[in-house]
């Protein structure tokens, strides 16, 4: 029995699967005879023992949810041996799942294996552009959210010696890093500790974030975080170009230093990290350099201390010497001043005394002249005489004399007695 009406099926051919597939093959060959550039994301890439490369191509829905197309592609070993190094050298990116590619393909259909594209060429510039575009979008988002520079704005400790390292345990990069730190020429001591994470492929985002969380839980024990991986000829850095990882790093409370071995464009992780260098060895050198700066500053301070002390002590000594010198000097000045003052006073005194003496002498002269005029001897010589009464007093009034009184009259040249008669 058939589902559909018998009459509709009268002219229907009956074929074997192989016959039908042959026709599909023919139809496809006829309809799609050319080569086409196809753009898609590689969801898986497998290289078998013979060197053939089998790729799963997908096209995701623009919203990111679900797929709108899927197909298989093959790069035959002979072609793959040339295309892979060409691609990886041009992009600095491993030919691996998770990246978008532009492939030159022919469309083929095999009766047994179904639809498959055969890849003849690859355009690395598309992948470069796509990766750059993805990074730009993530960076723009971080910028909008205001977190893009947060880690860069953290102060780098003067002495970054307690180093939390996020790397793969087996990676050569981690060994290089530790060796470089341990054998630094200055003899600085560093304390690196590994927080293991997967450093390539799909697990990068989740494991690196888990390691960051583990470090954040004991944040006070660490000065810096270093995220490193050994660089190969080409690196699979797509895992480092994710929004979640970048957002985590940007907002991490400790400065992050990256050395994830890229040769071209920096990853988003590098863009948000505090400091980004190319290799694990360079990351170690960065820490050593920073420490050397701190050591140089310490030496400089030590020298400055000695110099400041010397200067200060010399200055104090000079001050003391100056004081000691000024002490006698000030005495001498004082003494001279005093002497001068005394001399001045003496002179003034002398002058004053002289003046006084002259005045006195003058007055004395005047007085002696006056006195000379009053001298009785002088008056007697002029012809006057003095008569003394018997009681010895000079006679001033006639009435004082009585008859019989004997008077003595003094002249300039002698005395004569006389008797009062009337």
């Amino acid at each position: 029995m058939h589902y559909l009406c018998q009459s509709n099926l009268v002219n229907v051919e009956t074929l074997t699967l192989f016959e039908l597939n042959q026709r599909v093959r023919g139809a496809i060959d006829e309809a799609l005879p050319d080569k086409y550039w196809v753009r898609a994301e590689m969801s898986s890439v497998n290289v078998n023992a013979a060197g053939h490369c089998y790729i799963e191509l997908v096209q995701k829905h623009p919203s990111g949810a679900g797929m709108v197309a899927k197909a298989r592609a093959t790069i035959w070993a002979g072609r793959f041996r040339m295309l892979r190094p060409y691609f990886e050298q041009a992009t600095g990116q491993a030919f691996t799942a998770g990246i978008s590619v532009q492939l030159l393909v022919t469309v083929g259909f095999h009766e047994l294996y179904g639809l498959s594209f055969v890849v003849e060429d690859i355009d690395p510039t598309y992948t470069l552009g796509d990766m750059a575009q993805r990074r730009r979008e993530i960076l723009l988002r971080l910028e909008r959210e205001g977190t893009i520079d947060l880690n860069k704005e953290l102060p780098l400790p003067m002495l970054p010696r307690r180093v939390a390292v996020i790397s793969s345990e087996t990676a050569a990069g981690y060994g290089d890093f530790c060796h470089q730190l341990a054998t630094n020429a200055y003899g600085f001591v560093f304390c690196p500790k590994l927080f293991p994470a997967v450093m390539q492929g799909d697990a990068v985002e989740a494991t690196v974030i888990a390691a960051l969380d583990a470090i954040a839980a004991e944040e006070e024990n660490w000065d810096v975080v270093v995220i490193i991986r050994g660089g190969g000829a080409a690196s699979d850095l797509v895992g480092f170009d994710t929004y979640l990882l970048a957002a985590n790093c940007a907002q991490f409370p400790l400065p992050i230093i990256t050395g994830i071995g890229h040769e071209r464009d920096a990853t988003v992780l590098d863009a948000v990290a505090h400091t980004s260098v190319k290799t694990p060895t360079a990351a170690a050198e960065f820490l050593i350099g920073r420490t050397a700066e701190a050591a140089a500053r310490l030496e400089h301070l030590t020298d400055s201390l000695a110099a400041a002390l010397t200067t200060r002590i010399t200055a104090e000594k000079q001050r003391l010497q100056g004081l000691a010198l000024r002490l006698p000097a000030s005495f001498a000045v004082r003494k001279a001043n005093e002497t001068a003052a005394i001399t001045l006073r003496l002179q003034r005194l002398r002058t004053a005394v002289g003046t006084l003496m002259a005045e006195q002498r003058h007055r004395l002269e005047v007085a002696s002249k006056v006195l000379a005029g009053a001298n009785p001897a002088v008056i007697l010589r002029r012809g006057y005489s003095i008569t003394y009464a018997p009681d010895g007093h000079a006679v001033r009034h006639a009435a004082d004399l009585h008859e019989g009184d004997i008077l003595v009259t003094r002249f300039a040249d002698g005395e004569k007695k006389s008797i009062v008669t009337e």
Binding site: V189, A294, A295, L298, A308, R312, A315
Partner: protein
């Protein structure tokens, strides 16, 4: 004390001596302090302290 704090203090002492802010009486005490700070910084730069040893210990026991 952190290395940074030690450097800051040392810087301060040197500056005070240089500017003459520090009295000659304080000089001896501050010089002693400065020498302690320098020794601390040197140790931090060139010696692994116990604290850090402890930090790394659990990892080696695991």
């Amino acid at each position: 004390m952190t290395y940074e704090e030690a450097i800051r203090q040392l810087d301060n002492i040197v500056r005070q001596i240089e500017t003459g802010e520090m009295g000659i009486d304080q000089l001896t005490a501050q010089l002693k302090r400065a020498q302690e700070l320098i020794a601390f910084c040197r140790d931090t730069l060139y010696k692994t302290d116990e604290e850090v040893q402890k930090l790394l210990q659990p990892e080696t026991e695991k």
